[in-house]
C-alpha cells in the first residue's frame, strides 16, 4: 500500500476541515471498499479522515413515520434495530444480507450510499423508498443522487450525515447474491406508499442502480407478483460479466422482483 496519513474526525465540521488538508484526502468509514482498493493500489489517498467516531452521524430514529439513519450506522446495527424492523422490515432484511457478519460490523450506510457500487444493496432501497440523502450542507433526493457507476451528486468534500425516508406501507427486498463476494448479482427493492409503488434494482443495470418504471406501473394497480407477469426487462440495459450474462440478469430482475413483492410486509 502507498503511504497515507490518518485523521480521526470528532465532528462533521472537523471532518470537512480535515478533508481540506491533504493533497488527495478521502473519507473512510467502515473501509470495506476503500481499504481493499488501497491494497490493490487502485486508490492512493494522501490522507484518510475517519468518520466512524462522529457522534452526529450515528444512531437510528423513527418519529412521525419518518426514519432517519445516521450515515455512520453499520449494516449490523440496521439489521438488528428494533425501530427499523418495525418501520421497514425490508430494510433490516436488506442489511442482513450484505457481505458477511464481519463486513456488516464495519460497513456503514453512508459509505455504501456514497460509494454507489453498482452491486451494492442500499442504493436500491434508497431509490425505492424515495429517500432523502442528508449531507452536511443540503438534502438530495435519491432520484437525483445516484448518477452512474460509482458516481453520485456529492461534491468533493461533501459528507453524507444521514439518510431519511418515510416508512412505507409495504416493502420487500429480494437478492440473488454472487456466491463468493455476496454482492448482488441482482437485488430488487419494492416499496408501496400512499404516493405509489417504487422499484429499485441493483446489481443488474449497466448504468448502476435504477428504477424499473415498467414494474412500478404494473404494481401501482395491483401490488402482487402476478402483476409482473407481462413486464419485461431489456437485456440491452443489463450488465454482462463472468458471473452472468445480460439475458440471465434480465431474467433475474423479474424473478427477484416477484419474490420481493411476495415477501413485502
Amino acid at each position: 500500500m502507498y503511504a497515507t496519513n490518518y485523521h480521526r474526525a470528532s465532528s462533521v465540521a472537523d471532518a470537512v476541515r480535515l478533508k481540506g488538508t491533504g493533497e488527495e484526502t478521502k473519507y473512510v468509514s467502515g473501509g470495506m471498499t476503500l481499504i481493499p482498493t488501497m491494497k490493490q493500489r487502485l486508490a492512493a489517498p494522501s490522507d484518510l479522515v475517519d468518520l466512524r467516531h462522529v457522534a452526529e452521524m450515528k444512531g437510528i430514529t423513527v418519529s412521525g413515520g419518518t426514519v432517519r439513519i445516521g450515515a455512520a450506522t453499520t449494516h449490523a446495527e440496521v439489521a438488528s434495530s428494533a425501530e427499523i424492523k418495525a418501520a421497514c422490515p425490508a430494510l433490516s432484511h436488506l442489511a442482513s444480507l450484505i457481505g458477511d457478519p464481519h463486513v456488516r460490523h464495519m460497513g456503514t450506510v453512508g459509505g455504501s450510499v456514497a460509494n454507489n457500487d453498482p452491486a451494492a444493496d442500499y442504493p436500491s432501497a434508497m431509490l425505492a423508498l424515495g429517500a432523502m440523502i442528508v449531507t452536511d450542507r443540503r438534502r438530495i433526493a435519491a432520484d437525483d443522487f445516484f448518477t452512474g457507476l460509482f458516481e453520485t451528486a456529492l461534491n468533493e468534500d461533501e459528507i453524507i450525515v444521514a439518510v431519511e425516508f418515510a416508512a412505507p406501507e409495504k416493502a420487500g427486498y429480494s437478492k440473488f447474491p454472487n456466491p463468493a463476494s455476496r454482492y448482488a448479482m441482482t437485488g430488487v427493492f419494492v416499496a408501496k406508499s400512499a404516493s405509489g409503488v417504487r422499484v429499485g434494482v441493483t446489481g443488474a443495470g449497466s448504468d448502476g442502480v435504477f428504477r424499473h418504471s415498467g414494474m412500478e406501473q404494473a404494481l401501482a394497480g395491483n401490488f402482487s407478483p402476478d402483476a409482473l407477469s407481462g413486464v419485461t426487462t431489456d437485456p440491452a440495459d443489463m450488465l454482462s460479466d463472468l458471473h452472468g450474462s445480460a439475458e440471465y440478469r434480465a431474467n433475474l430482475v423479474n424473478v427477484m422482483a416477484r419474490r420481493a413483492v411476495a415477501a413485502a410486509t
Binding site: 500500500m1 502507498y2 503511504a3 493500489r41 440473488f176 454472487n178 456466491p179 463468493a180 463476494s181 407477469s229 463472468l242 452472468g244 450474462s245 440471465y248 431474467n251 433475474l252 424473478v255 416477484r258
Partner: protein, 734 residues
Amino acid sequence: MQFDKPATTNPIDRLKVVGQPVHRIDGQLKATGRAKYAYEWHDPNVPYVYGYPVGAAIAKGHIVSMDVSAAKEAPGVLAVVTALDVGERKKGKFNTAKLFGGSEIQHYHQAVAVVVAETFEQARAAAALVRVEYAEEIGAFDLKDAMKTAIKPKDVGGAPPDTAVGDFDGAFKAAPVSFDATYTTPDQSHSMMEPHASIAVWDGEALTIWTSAQMIDWWRSDLATTLDVEKEKIHLMSPFIGGGFGGKLFLRADAVLAAFGAKAARRPVKVALPRPFMVNNTTHRPATIQRVRIAAEHTGKITAIGHESWSGDLPGGQLETAAMQTRLLYAGENRMTAMRLATLDLAEGNAMRAPGEAPGMMALEIAMDEMAEKLDIDPVEFRIINDTQVDPEKPERPFSHRDLVSCLRLGAERFGWSDRGRPASRREGNWLIGLGVAAAFRNNLLVPSAARVRLDHEGVITVETDMTDIGTGSYTIIAQTAAEMMGVPIEKVVVRLGDSRFPVSAGSGGQFGANCSTTGVYAACVKLREAIAQKLGFNSEDATFENGEVRSGNRSVPLAEAAGSEGLAGEDTVEWAKLADSHQQSTFGAHFVEVGVDIATGESRIRRMLAVCAAGRILNPITARSQVVGAMTMGVGSALSEELAVDVGRGFFVNHDLAGYEVPVHADIPHQEVIFMDETDPYSSPMKAKGIAELGLCGVSAAIANAIYNATGVRVREYPITLDKLIGGLPDVT
C-alpha cells in the same frame, strides 16, 4: 523393511489404539492458535524483515530491462533482487516452470524480483516501483485451439499414454446401444487457506528455512539445485501446514525468493505469496476436454469403452491423466484410452487432490449415467453389472480387494435411492428435486517411507520422520501406530514431523501419506522392539509389548527400565516390492447426492450427500471421515462453482482470489454422511490400510451433475454447472 508378501497377523491387528476414534493430538495447539505455520515462526531474537514478490506482467516473452532504482530508494528498502541479478538457475527436478532467474518469461506472474524492506507495507509499496520492460511473444492460452496440435507423450508417470484391448472401433460400431459425448472440466485452484510462505535465515553457507511444504525432501533437494548449494547445508522445516491439496508438493517461489532476499539483505527474510500469486504463480489443476464412448448390449453389459483426454501445460510439462481410471473401473472386452498433451503458456498445470481421477471421474461418471438412461437401466445396477474383480486390461491381474458393489448397494439402501423418479418429475415449491449417483475410484499408491523411533528412560516413545501433516491427521495416526506397536498409551508418544533432519518419509500426496508413513513408523518400531528384546536378552519373536511393558515368558520389564539412561532407538525404511505388479491396489466408493434446482434462477443447492468408502483399514475413523467430508465439499465446489477463468487474449487466470474463485461456504453445505466398509487389505501394507483423502473427491461432482439432470432434465457436460448453463432448459415459470 521390504514389504513383499501380503501381511499376516501383526501387533497392529490388536486395534487397541489404531482404528480407534482418537482425537487429534494437535487439536489443542490448533484450537488455541498456537500451532506455528511458516510465516509466523516467531523468534523474538531474530530481526525478520519482509520480502514482497514482483510478478511478470506478460505471459510469454523476455525481460528486456529492469529499473529498480526507485524501488531501492524507497523508504525502508534493504535489497532488491531481480531475476536478471540471479541469472539463469538450474531448475528443480519436480518443477516444470522455472521459479526465478534469467530473462525468459514462461507465464504471467512468474517471479521477476523480490523487494526486501523493514516492514511489510514498505516492501509492498516498493515492489510497485520496480519497472520492467518486456519483449512480449505470442502464447497459446486456449485449450480448445491448442488441442489440435497436442502431442502424445512417451509416458505418463510411468504408464503408457495409450492403451488398447480387443477391437474397440469394431465393437463400438456393432453394439446395439452406444453413446459418445464430450465433456470439459475447467482449470481449478487448490485454494488452501494458508498461502505459500517461507522464512529464510542464512548462517554463512548454511540455510535454515521454515516453509509450507508437503514433501520435505523434494523441496530441500530442489531448493539446493535452484540455489546451487549443497543439500546438506539446507535445514528445512514445515511442522504445521495450512492445507495443501497438492499445491505445496513442489518447491515454490516464496522459498527461493526468501533465500535470495535474505542473502542480499543479510537479514532473515519472510516472504508470503499474495493470494493472486497462488493462482498465476504456482500450480493449478489443468482443464481437460474428454471424450467418452461406451457401447453395450441391451442387458447393460459393456462391450466397448473408450476414454480420450486432452489437457495442456507449459513445454516440458505433464498432462492431466484423466483417462487413467477408465483402464480399471469397469469391465468390457474392447477398450481404449488415449491422453494427449497440448502446449499452453499459462502457469504450470500440476497435481491437485486426486490428479487424473478427479477430473476423469467427472466425465466418465456422467457418461455412465447417460448410458444407463439410454439402456433404461438403473444407474446403480448398470455399474454393478459391469463390475470386474480383475484389471480389465490384464485379466491375469486381480484387484487386491475390491468392493465397489457393496458400496453401491449399501449406499442405495441408506440413501433411499429407490425414491428416485424420472428426470424433472419432482417439484417442491420453487425447487426441482433430483437424486444422483456416481462410483468413486482412486488408486492406492506406494512410496518408500522412513522413520526413527526412540524410547527414553521415562518410557516415552518419540517418533521422528519428515512426514508432514497438512491437516490430514498425520500426527495422530502416527502416534496411534507407535502406541499400538510399542504397547503404550498414546499419551506416551511424542510425534515430531516436517523437519529435514528426520528420516525421509513418503510425504503428503496422492492419498499415499497415511498408509505409507505409518508403515515406515511400523518398520522403525519393529527395529526398536528388536533392540529392546536384544538388550533384555529376549527373543524378539515372542516378546509382547503391552501396558508399557515388554514381556517374554514369565519375565516382564517396564519399557522405561528397558531403555536405561541412554535410551534405545530403531530406524527403518519401508520399501515396496512387486506386490503392486501382481495385484492392482485401488480404493472404491459410491457417492449419492440429492439436489434442488431453483426453477426460476437455475440456482442449484445440495440437499444431502452420502459417501460409502471401501479403502482398507480405517486407521482413525474421526480423521478419515473428516477427510471424506472435506473432499465431498471440494467436489461440490468443483461441480457448481469452481473455475479459473482464462483470459485467452492476455494469458492469465482472471479470478485469482477468493473474491472471484468461488469455494463453498458453510451455508452451501448441508447434511453429509460417510460410511466406511469394514475391510482390510493385506496387500497394501502391514497396516492393511489404503488412502482415503482423495477417494472422497473422485466421483462427487459427477453425482451432483447426475442429480441436477434428474432434477431438471437438463444435461450439462461443461463444468462447473452454473445457472446460466441450466436456465435455458428449465420449464417456463410463468
